[in-house]
Symmetry: C2
Subunit: 285 residues, 2 copies
């Protein structure tokens, strides 16, 4: 059964926020959608596209009488925004977010609201290197995976509502504890963004490399074109898991370098074989 | 004007060798094509596909009376194979290869043949994670870039013939000195393969990561599925450039780790911005 919300407020109407608004509209999942943000031009774009019905520069005003709040701001702004709107949200309001890191945000929500908690952390793994409301589309979440927080202090009905929200816009929901989320995403997403960036620099500072760029390099550096501010925030909000992962990666690269230095064919083949098998084990072709 | 060769011998009839045979056949660029290799089953496949007209387990026999030899063996076998066939090749024969590293191979050719040298190193940047003659196709080289050796000791007519060969099968030819080639490819291809492998391992050894795998991870680990033996060989034959590049990459990753450790937002944003700009500078979208 599809959910329906009378009043939804989306805070942050960039790619993800505007797309959610469009998805809700197109599927008739909400009666009225308010958009809040700090840039009038973005708000106007979201309004013009029909992603939202009314816009506010003041998030506190925008959440009065709301049923569902979706925070779709940059990850580093979620916690301050939760503090800002906490007092103005109706007690029965359900809240969620879309940030790529979960531990700090969910822990903060646990601090500022009593159990049973009605803020439920989400991470829809959708989107691209594109940004801004103007790139929003109603089908952005279709076929994607949305990770939704599990925790003992969550209100079960609020959680169900959040799960049904994401399913209703086309995502498959996977339950995840925030600590597990951050550790895994460090390895499958956050560190890869660091690597892509570093690889792009490695090539660019060498001189004229364009003739030597093949599909491998394109694939390996595509996400280096992502927005620096977003990845700065993710690194900072997922510090521990990233440092741990980077340290392990460094050890692995050292092993490769040692084997190359010694021209140790057997070890090199073995390292590449493990990576080959690891790829097969982690990605369905 | 298109080239035409009476007798071509392709040594090593895997993906690249068989595809070249098919390309030559389909475009009528050779009268007869011999295939040589060490595995009867691969030779039979190439024969059955029409990539070659006759097959040999003995490369020396296969090059008697030949006009053009293309060595399409794994990179580490090119030098031994050159030594093996040197005496049997007619003096006017033109030779080339397809290996991903060039310095060692071209230097060896310079040692075993007097100037003007009729072995001209090539590196067609085509192919995929697939391997074997059965995946060969006549259009593999279309739209690809083929890097062709420049050197003062090369026979000009032999070089022209090799360039026209690659153009005739659909590649764009770029001239390259072997040392420059190996240094650039270390950064745009060889090191990325090491990284992809290491990233796949980083994720796989963490536990169940499949739910967290998005397009970024897929892109970043695709080439980890490449054949270990091929990349083992490339690492060994391009040792110096790879060690230099890996050392630079390590310094870059250290800078990221330091900034994350200190939660230094400004430095992190700056690092990501440089990577962003480097990607834009090296890859045309």
């Amino acid at each position: 059964m599809e959910p329906h919300f009378d009043r939804v407020t989306i805070i942050g109407v960039g790619l993800l926020g505007a797309s959610l608004g469009l998805a809700l509209k197109c599927r008739g999942l909400a009666t009225s959608i308010y958009g809040a943000g700090h840039r009038q031009s973005s708000l106007d774009t979201a309004l013009r596209m029909g992603a939202v019905d009314r816009v506010f520069l003041n998030a506190v005003e925008a959440v009065e009488g709301v049923d569902l709040v979706v925070l779709a701001t940059p990850a580093a702004l979620v916690i301050p925004k939760l503090d800002e709107i906490r007092g103005a949200c109706p007690p029965q309001a359900i809240l969620t977010d879309v940030a790529s890191t979960k531990q700090a945000i969910c822990a903060h929500a646990r601090e500022i609201w009593p159990a049973p908690r009605r803020f439920v952390g989400s991470h829809p793994m959708a989107g691209s290197e594109k940004f801004g409301a103007e790139h929003g589309r109603a089908n952005l979440y279709e076929g994607s995976v949305c990770l939704v927080e599990t925790a003992p202090d969550l209100d079960a009905a609020a959680r169900d509502a959040v799960v049904s929200l994401w399913r209703a816009v086309g995502a498959t929901v996977v339950d995840i504890a925030p600590a597990v989320h951050d550790a895994a995403l460090a390895r499958t997403s956050h560190i890869p963004h660091v690597i892509a960036s570093a690889l792009a620099m490695l090539a660019a500072r060498h001189g004229e490399v364009r003739p030597f760029v093949g599909p491998g390099f394109r694939d390996m550096t595509r996400i280096a074109a992502s927005r620096p501010e977003i990845w700065r925030d993710i690194c900072i909000t997922n510090r521990e898991a990233m440092l741990e992962g980077l340290s392990e990666l460094n050890a692995r690269l050292e092993a490769f370098a040692e084997a190359i230095k010694k021209a140790d064919a057997a070890t090199l083949e073995s390292l590449f074989q493990e990576g080959h098998d690891a790829r097969r084990a982690t990605v369905d072709e």
